[in-house]
């Protein structure tokens, strides 16, 4: 139960946790996991010009999961939304020295972010189909 310093730091003061700050742009959210799995992760993001203007998380999970959410959220501020489609948590996990046994739970972070992307992507489709159907 000795955690890497970075994990402890994120656990003590997670970044971008909780409510999405007010601002311009559309809001999308995604969620993955279940209590019975020991991990539930949700993200919210505000998108302007196809890029992530702000991204926040909520999580129920082990300290590695919480830290990974925090670090991932940090890294994704300002990134293009499209990036979330194939986002993988590997680099974050390496940075936090997450042990092999704990990496499975972190996949839910990928799932939740992909689900954010899907919501955004769906909105793009419907907008373009809307624009098509409503010329």
């Amino acid at each position: 139960m000795d955690y890497p310093a970075a994990v402890l730091a994120h656990f003590a003061a997670p970044r971008h946790a909780g409510e999405l700050p007010q601002g311009p742009g559309a809001v999308f959210s995604g969620r993955a996991g279940a209590l019975a799995e020991g991990v539930v992760v949700s993200f919210q993001l505000r998108v302007l010009n196809d890029s992530i203007q702000a991204l926040t998380f909520r999580a129920y999970g082990c300290p590695y999961t919480l830290a990974a959410c925090s670090l991932a959220a940090e890294g994704l501020q300002g990134a293009p939304v499209a990036l979330l489609r194939d986002f993988t948590i590997g680099q974050v996990a390496d940075q936090l020295q997450v042990p092999p046994g704990k990496r499975g739970a972190l996949l839910r972070i990928e799932d939740a972010l992909r689900s954010c992307w899907r919501a955004w992507d769906n909105s793009q489709l419907s907008r373009s189909s809307a624009s098509r159907s409503d010329p």
Binding site: G38, V40, R58, Y60, P63, L66
Partner: protein
């Protein structure tokens, strides 16, 4: 991490200074250095040094000195009781009864007996974590030779009605083994009145040294068991190896102190436990695991809803407490004991076993309650709705 707080007295207790003094004197005493089985002056001197300890341990449980066999701890005592008695009795029958809530030393001994062809009934506890005497009675078969039940359960702290189980076993003719590692020095034990045939003790759970324990074997009902270790014939042939005089002296002293303090220690600890329970159960979504009444003075087990267990424990890490039996490194698996009570896995994982002892204070208890409150609030605020 500001001042660490030890709240894991059920896992192990500090050595009482008087016990340490007695052991230290023994370690340095030329008269305690010899092999106590040797017949020369030095051997007899060592044997004489060790002898009162057998008496002291016997008195704590209402036994006679000749009914005590020294072991390396309660784990070995449990193994010797179960495997030794089962093998020795197997002409009479090969069925054993125990509970799903027992310590791994019991459960794993039973599994090894199953591999030898014994049959084992693992009784489920009721919702309060207790195995009812009636369910023991119902499980008894003609070929049942042994029943094993902890006096105080090490995870929940609940107290079994051993006298009632003892009477049932005596009527049937099965032997009763009781793991008293948690109850010795906390609950009064009288092996004769409670009709216990075998009983396991561990010194380090009662302010004595680690690495020494004892098995009581009733002189009339259970003079012999099949030994697990083979060698020089010490301990009436039941447990070979050079007698560790200083360890035995330490356990004897711990037993004597425990007996002397039986009227004062447990009530003081109980008062703290009530304060702790009141504090914890007043917090949102905190529930007691196991019976609220039939419970030892020193153990509280609660489940904290809405927070993940490992994060909860990290938030509480200045407190040494356990999420289950602290026997082996935390596995990340939910406690089988809590599972057997029907508690959901995620709640079993966010349960805390807090155990108090002679060194515990109201300030420590209050600090824990405040920390559980703060951590669980913080973690719940982080969690998705």
């Amino acid at each position: 991490m500001s001042e660490p707080v030890y709240l894991d007295y059920a896992a192990s207790t500090p050595v009482d200074p008087q016990v340490a003094d007695a052991m230290d004197a023994c370690l340095r005493d030329p008269d305690a250095m010899a092999n106590a089985a040797a017949t020369h002056w030095a051997g007899r001197a060592a044997a004489a040094r060790a002898q009162p300890a057998r008496e002291q341990v016997a008195q704590l449980i209402g036994a006679r000195a000749g009914e005590i066999v020294w072991t390396s701890g309660a784990t070995e005592a449990d193994n010797l009781a179960l495997v030794g008695a089962a093998r020795f009795q197997q002409q009479r029958g090969r069925h054993i009864i125990t509970a799903l809530t027992e310590h791994p030393a019991i459960l794993e001994s039973c599994r090894s007996l199953q591999a030898e062809g014994f049959q084992v009934s693992y009784l489920s506890p009721n919702g309060a974590g207790l195995v009812e005497p009636e369910s023991v009675a119902a499980a008894l078969r003609e070929d049942t030779v042994l029943v094993s039940l902890a006096h105080v359960n090490n995870e929940l702290g609940v107290i079994h009605d051993i006298a009632a189980v003892g009477a049932i076993c005596r009527t049937h003719g099965a032997l009763l083994h009781v793991d008293a590692a948690q109850s010795a020095g906390r609950e009064s034990i009288d092996v004769k009145a409670q009709q216990i045939d075998l009983l396991s003790l561990s010194a380090h759970k009662m302010y004595g040294p680690k690495g020494i324990g004892a098995l009581f074997l009733d002189a009339e009902r259970c003079r012999r068991v099949s030994p697990l270790l083979h060698g020089g014939g010490q301990e009436r042939g039941l447990r070979p190896g050079t007698l560790p005089v200083h360890q035995v002296v330490g356990m004897g002293m711990a037993a004597e102190l425990a007996r002397a303090r039986l009227a004062s220690d447990p009530p003081a600890i109980l008062a703290l436990r009530r304060r702790l329970e009141a504090g914890l159960l007043a917090l949102p979504d905190v529930q007691l695991n196991g019976s609220p009444e039939q419970r030892s003075c020193h153990i509280v087990n609660v489940r904290v809803g809405g927070v993940e267990g490992e994060s909860l424990r990290l938030g509480l890490r200045r407190f040494a407490l356990s999420s289950g039996s602290a026997c082996a490194a935390e596995s990340g698996e939910p406690s089988p004991v809590l599972r057997s009570l029907g508690i959901a896995d995620h709640l079993a994982l966010s349960s805390l076993r807090i155990s108090l002892g002679r060194g515990s204070t109201a300030a420590e208890v209050d600090a824990l309650v405040a920390a559980v409150d703060a951590t669980s609030q913080r973690l719940r605020a982080l969690a998705p709705a």
